[in-house]
């Protein structure tokens, strides 16, 4: 879909996913790495636990459909080569600290001077400007700053993050949306522009709009693992199954209460509770708890009934209930459950990607959507360090072979 376009990807681990999305959509993405390889290649886990720049599974995760060249852009000749590449590129993505590229003479203004149609994308923890623009950062730090962290975890312990780093992925996907919007505009104006993404702001979306509580003068959300606190009630969301856990939305009110009505009637019909409990006004139950018309112990009793039902069934059985009866149940899947998922298999989701240098293939998550006319293709496995130096420098930029070798010896390439 983006096959006419070339992307220079100079990101570190903060921004890799943005370029991969453009690559999945068909763009020619050139990953520009410092000689020796991107620092993101040092991030584990590693294939067979052998630390090696070409075996980082973190690297593999976000560099499919890219080519790799090495280039020392902090040296004058390296900078000049980058400017030559930028002259006919359509997008340039970077995720260094604000001002870093400008200090090398590679800021957006420098690039736009030679290629006014270039779309420059910067992905940073706090944005290009402001009092925290130069803050030291990490996944945990931006999660703390952006709002989702305080809401996540058990209420009697410290807030907790998703164990697979998430923070920058939110920013990188926002960056991809903005880059494509700017591209759409460029098709009319012929002009590029600079895009400035702050991970802190991107992460606010992961609060379910709870971030608006203060400006709207509303109650703040609080964390309560497996449940959400609202007034005196902590709504339980996680329930035991025979072989693990399930998530169940057991709530009240006009929108969600209808599912609870269905569920409680079923439980009464099948002897898990008495008729009166089964036919209680579950729509109005939340309001009744809030007003004190129903005691909180009644909520806990209902939770007990549901728990005895869920813990007598396996995750797979409960999922069948969800599909056949429309209960809001979902299994808490392990990674193995996800990989073995009959649903994902039926949709042919996973892609086996060949890594010829390792003599085997690996199972990658498949296309992020299914396009009927222009399906996403996994054309290239993640590149080895500098794998496409010759292709890019000699075949594309027209460097001579000795010229390239000389630059290699001097550590520019």
């Amino acid at each position: 879909m983006l096959s006419p376009y070339r992307v220079l990807d100079l990101t570190n681990e903060r921004g890799l996913l943005c370029g991969q999305i453009l690559g999945d959509l068909g763009a020619d993405v050139i990953k520009v790495e410092p000689p020796g390889g991107s620092p993101a290649r040092k991030l584990g886990p590693f294939f067979q636990d052998q630390p090696d720049p070409n075996r980082s599974l973190y690297w593999w995760s976000y560099n499919r459909n890219k080519r790799s060249i090495t280039l020392e852009i902090s040296r004058r000749e390296g900078r000049e080569i980058l400017l030559r590449l930028a002259k006919d590129a359509h997008f340039l993505i970077e995720s260094d600290s604000p001002g870093q590229f400008a200090s090398l003479g590679l800021g957006y203004a420098d690039l736009a001077a030679i290629n006014p149609a270039l779309i420059g994308v910067s992905i940073t923890p706090f944005g290009q400007d402001g009092p925290k623009a130069s803050y030291a950062d990490s996944d945990l730090v931006i999660l703390a700053a952006g709002g989702p962290l305080v809401l996540t975890g058990d209420d009697d312990r410290a807030p907790v993050r998703v164990s697979v780093p998430q923070g920058y992925l939110h920013a990188a996907t926002d960056a991809a949306v903005a880059a494509l919007a700017a591209h759409h505009e460029r098709c009319f104006s012929g002009l590029g522009q600079h895009i400035d993404v702050s991970a802190q702001q991107s992460l606010a979306l992961a609060t379910q709009s709870g971030i608006l509580a203060a400006p709207l003068d509303a109650d703040q959300y609080r964390r309560a693992a497996g449940g959400v606190k609202s007034g005196a009630m902590t709504a339980q969301l996680l329930w035991p199954a025979k072989d693990g856990w399930i998530s169940c939305t057991f709530l009240f009110g006009t929108a969600l209460g209808v599912f609870t009505v269905k569920l409680m009637r079923y439980l009464a019909e099948h002897g898990w509770c008495d008729e009166a409990t089964g036919h209680k006004d579950w729509i109005g139950f939340g309001a009744a708890l809030a007003s004190g018309a129903e005691p909180m112990s009644e909520y806990h009793r209902a939770c007990g009934i549901l728990s005895s039902f869920t813990s007598s069934h396996t995750k797979a059985e409960l999922l069948r209930f969800a599909i056949e009866k429309g209960f809001l149940f979902a299994p808490v899947s392990t990674i193995a459950d996800v990989i073995e998922s009959p649903q994902l298999r039926a949709r042919d989701y996973f892609r086996e990607v060949e890594h010829p240098e390792l003599g085997r293939s690996f199972r990658y998550p498949g296309p992020f959507v299914k396009f009927s006319e222009s399906p996403i293709q996994y054309r290239r496995r993640p590149p080895l360090v500098g794998e496409h130096n010759r292709e890019v420098y000699v075949d594309q930029l027209g460097m001579s072979e000795p010229e390239m070798q000389e630059l290699q010896q001097r550590g520019i390439i």
Binding site: L140, V160, C187, L212, L256, S333, T334, V338, R363
Partner: protein, 404 residues
């Protein structure tokens, strides 16, 4: 006013609740003209969800709804009423893109599936978004993003190893998949621009969101290892944690990325002997003795307010930040500088606040242009200005009850 980047893009939006509308909201900020169809009888669940403006409950009080729908026009339409067909047909002719997030089969039952729409407009782009995708044994599995997050593995990877999974906060895939919705629409528009062809896009919110778990999926595929929740520990870094601060439920995130960071932290805590302690000398020592080290850091951080700990640590180049709730985020100097929140006039509440666009475009910046529509707010505007119906036609339509 500067041109907005998507000014020429017209979207007929049947999506509801959170994941879908949050995706088209991004396009509205960049200028797309979006007509959102709402059922006059079956209220959008999002309208019933908190946070509520001034803590009042009401169909237009939901901050979540207003955040997901700012900038869109709202038309109420009873799709079950045959009279709606003609209006929908005219809107499809008007639109570049049609989006929907019902469970599969609903659009077909109404005669509004892709095959039907392309008969009306051959180059239409249609995107369907649902939890698990349009096909497969779980196609009809419906619900909210917390369920998709559980079934996709996020829950089991979030929380403490000695406890039941905590899961990410709320409907997690409803925060991840909207970005992919917007990306897919923009890519399809680009493809249509060059080839003249529309297409159908089948988005499984679970499949899109799995791209945020790729390292764990590859660890299983490559090494046979099934990762599980690990609290706040990190495979690369130590110390790496959330530490208690002064005050109720006050915390600070502190991360040492290098040995130098760790030396600077010991210095800041006025505990130089900790840096020399053989238990903490290298990263792997610090990993092994993480709980002893965390206790030392906590005994320091407990005496400070989170912002003070953040300021002191950042002054020495150590990655640290107060763990912020909405009130703290709202008064964060950086958030204020970036203009994250946008105040908008509101027909019921006088004014309201939403989040602005998260990415800043230098030449054609996006903006939240108007508050989310109240139920049926733009019926007249859509029928008159967008569809060009005559006053009499509009009167007939209103009289037929199809608008609710």
């Amino acid at each position: 006013m500067a041109r907005l980047p998507l000014e020429d893009v017209k979207i007929l939006d049947f999506m509801w609740v959170m994941a879908g509308p949050a995706g088209t909201r991004m396009l509205a900020d960049y200028g797309a003209v979006i007509v959102r169809i709402e059922s006059p009888t079956r209220i959008d669940t999002a309208r019933t969800l908190s946070p509520y403006q001034n803590n009042q409950i009401g169909p237009d009080a939901s901050g979540l709804f207003s955040n997901c729908n700012a900038g869109k026009f709202g038309l109420t339409l009873d799709i079950g009423n045959p009279r709606s067909r003609e209006i929908i047909r005219d809107l499809v002719k008007w639109a570049d893109v049609v989006t929907e997030s019902f469970s599969p089969k609903a659009m077909r039952a109404w005669g509004l599936d892709y095959q039907a729409l392309r008969k009306i407009k051959p180059d239409i782009i249609m995107l369907s978004s649902c939890l698990m995708g349009q096909t497969g044994p779980l196609a009809s599995f419906a619900g909210f993003g917390n369920l998709a997050a559980a079934i996709s593995g996020f829950h089991n990877l979030t929380g403490w190893p000695d406890r039941a999974p905590a899961g990410p906060f709320g409907a997690y895939t409803d925060y991840v998949s909207p970005r992919f919705t917007a990306i897919a629409i923009l890519a399809a528009l680009e493809y249509r621009r060059r080839t003249g062809k529309g297409q159908y896009i089948d988005q499984s919110q679970a499949e899109a969101s799995l791209h945020f778990l790729t390292p764990a999926l590859l660890d299983y595929s490559a090494n046979g290892r099934a990762q599980i929740r690990a609290g706040n520990s990190d495979r690369e870094l130590a110390p790496h944690g959330i530490y208690p601060s002064r005050g109720e439920d006050q915390w600070v995130a502190i991360v040492c990325r290098t040995d130098d960071d760790f030396g600077a932290l010991c210095d800041l805590m006025k505990r130089p002997e900790v840096a020399r302690d053989p238990r903490f000398r290298t990263l792997s020592d610090r990993h092994k003795n993480a709980s002893a080290l965390d206790e030392i850091i906590a005994s320091w951080s407990r005496e400070l307010e989170p912002r003070e700990a953040e300021r002191l640590a950042q002054a020495r180049g150590i990655a640290a930040h107060a763990v912020q709730n909405s009130a703290e985020f709202y008064t964060d100097a950086q958030v204020g500088h970036r203009g994250h929140f946008v105040e908008l006039p509101h027909p019921v509440y006088g004014k309201t606040t939403v989040e602005g666009p998260r990415a800043k475009l230098s030449r054609t910046p996006g903006q939240a242009r108007r508050a989310a529509p109240t139920l049926g707010q733009d019926n007249q505007y859509v029928l008159e200005k967008i569809l060009g119906y005559s006053e009499q036609q509009i009167g007939d339509i209103a009289g037929s009850g199809v608008l609710g």
